[in-house]
Amino acid sequence: RLLPAPLKDAVEVSMWRKCYTMPEVNAALSKIQLVGYSQKIELFGAVQVTPLSSGYALGSSNWIIQSHYEKVSYVSGSSLLTTHPQPMDQTSLKNSDVLILTGLTQIPTANPDGMVGEFCSNLAMTVRNGGNVLVPCYPSGVIYDLLECLYQYIDSAGLSNVPFYFISPVANSSLEFSQIFAEWLCHNKQTKVYLPEPPFPHAELIQTNKLKHYPSIHGDFSNDFKQPCVVFTGHPSLRFGDVVHFMELWGKSSLNTVIFTEPDFSYLDALAPYQPLAMKCVYCPIDTRLNFIQVSKLLKEVQPLHVVCPEQYTQPPPTQSHRTDLMIDCQPPPMSYRRAEVLTLPYKRRYEKIEIMPEVS
């Protein structure tokens, strides 16, 4: 009760659980079987499962589950924009009996390219005026695209003397791993690897000391730390991680800016405990996943017999109830599901597969 909103309205605190431990993480990971795009995997002789590129992140997948007679496509977290991952495989989704659609963009009204532009210009402006820029982010994913954008932008924006810091316990691994999965990247990046050259330009940023990475703010970072600078660090919720330190360090000056690029958290909620804040706050969330216009086009292209999606997508968002374009619109109308609900899918098998022995034929 004594906590500020929204914490005071939070679900029963007694039901909160402890976060999983590393041994539990490793035990879970050990059960994983690695597969590749378009690899057909037989499950118990009953169905065949195939991952397809969804175009959203490195290795992100949509899945086809099929038997001899039925085909179900599971489409979630997909993107048609040309960022670093392999483009979305749409052709293989055709001829589906059922297409389950979820994981659409959380910001259907924003244009990701525009957001990236705003990100760069706000960053440049802050730095030119002698301020620091804090970017709360995840250690992989969009950060690769942001670094690539900045790489191209640096010289023209006069940012050559500003250090970029990437602080995370997995900063080094993330940057290294991004360079070894050429086969999962878009065609342009694959061609670079044939030269050979690393597919992501952040390799050069590291080589020329423009980008420095540290496992935490303690240790080497405290010696190298120079301001003004740009810091990429986590966690985007602003509740834990090194980002908290920087919020407290830079919050009192209006020269500094915090730029929110992750769509997962409401930035106002995230900032609430830090108020009052002199620091400037810029909200330009970058979510490359499918919006409703792209979904319409996709469904027309792929033409599944039935579409299944979460209830939320069958009506406009509650905050914009007049926007009838912000929902899934297709013929026949989609079947929707709610949490904890069981949905029976509408097909009846009429045939089974047998084999005629050569002697009989």
């Binding site: 378009s38 070894i180 044939y194 050979p196 047998i354 084999e355 005629i356």
Partner: protein, 598 residues
Amino acid sequence: SFSGSGAGAGQDVGRSCILVSIAGKNVMLDCGMHMGYNDDRRFPDFSYITQNGRLTDFLDCVIISHFHLDHCGALPYFSEMVGYDGPIYMTHPTKAICPILLEDYRKITVDKKGEINFFTSQMIKDCMKKVVAVHLHQTVQVDEELEIKAYYAGHVLGAAMFQIKVGCESVVYTGDYNMTPDRHLGAAWIDKCRPDLLISESTYATTIRDSKRCRERDFLKKVHETVERGGKVLIPVFALGRAQELCILLETFWERMNLKAPIYFSTGLTEKANHYYKLFITWTNQKIRKTFVQRNMFEFKHIKAFDRAFADNPGPMVVFATPGMLHAGQSLQIFKKWAGNEKNMVIMPGYCVQGTVGHKILSGQRKLEMEGRQILEVKMQVEYMSFSAHADAKGIMQLIRQAEPRNVLLVHGEAKKMEFLKQKIEQEFHVNCYMPANGETTTIFTNPSIPVDISLGLLKRETAIGLLPDVKKPQLMHGTLIMKDNSFRLVSPEQALKELGLAEHQLRFTCRVHIQDPRKEHETVLRVYNHLKGVLKDYSVQHLPDGSITVESILIQATAHSEDQGTKVLLVSWTYQDEELGSYLTSLLKKGLPPSTS
């Protein structure tokens, strides 16, 4: 059925090029050049394919297993000079590294040796534009019927084994592979895909190679001894492949023993090689992949770039120089310089093709004829240590056990050794094993089953007949097979008639069986009923209230004979579908009834 022809590598290690025809599709496997020849014989003979017309029309695709020149060296010649515009498939590392090695080979042949009828740099680039890169285990649809799939082969970075599948028939081509992991690559792996044919390399068909540790110890001992007495060690290698393996081995040894003698690697391809290994680290073995973030195994502290001038430096040194069989280039130059001194040593780490200097000195030749009729006396020590990553006999058997092919075909080996292995395979696995020579066609017949869609209604109905269907006993079923385009459907006759708009005609048979029985009809019927019920325990025998008996759907009625009261006539009536049971019943009843116990 399908046939495979070797245009190269049949009973020979030299140039690999195999043509497979499977269910009407034609696939070319590898397109290599022979390093022992300097004339037309170095390329496979494509004329006997082209007599069928244009290559692009004839071939559905070309598959390249890995970047060694004896598997891809003729590719630009084939695609740009002979002419082929269809797809060429290979893995990503192969696509990255092939053009580098091809360009290198072209430079040596044309610029340094001045040959003319050879492919150009532009041709290499144009050829690579036709290449489609594939991932491991990705099912690649070449067209609607033909699909291919790559498996990890070990051997060198990016090497793959390929499964080619058309409908129910499939072939697996191994390229070169290795069944044991080494210091930088993993072991080949394939699932139990049961191909109709497995085409396997057999470079080491008769050898069971001794433990790798022994070979490594031996190698290090020889290098160490030579260097200790002030001699120079030449190790001819290809820039990519075994070189990385040996570098890791020497680096670890130098570090452990704190040795000071310099180790050099000839420049040009080296730095690039390092980059490729780093960018394609997912193709190396588990240990390297796990540690690459902290430490790049391919960045060496003790191994430096070589300069031509160093060859004349006094004192001990170890030099890795390209190319690998001492047939040209820098390794041959250094060899010529060092051959005269018995303190020096040359270690051949892999197979040498006939005709190369490497092969000659390994065969014991100590006087070699060089260009300009000059004789070179070889006083330096010549050692052969097989580090090339090919499967030995045990490994080949292991692969066959993993994949369970129905037939095996051996290539890429020497005839006598292959013969020995062929017999072993036939004995142990009871499958046919072939070993064709160059240009020879092998035809293998397959016996595929035909997949059919059966209507669920029909299946359920037919399996419900009989009291307790025995799964081991074959059961008779009635249905209609409808063949349309390439699909087969088995449906009930009623459904078929309806679909095809045909009228049904019923065929009914009636047979009269005379039984001697003076009693009333209904008593005869009872006797017949009890008799049949006792004999036909697996069938449904019923006595109906109207006085007739049914056995399944066959009707039996008894009437009195019109003239003879002591004879009863049994009418047995059945439809065409029940022919088998009907005739059986008739013969049974004709035998007569057992005496009644009333």
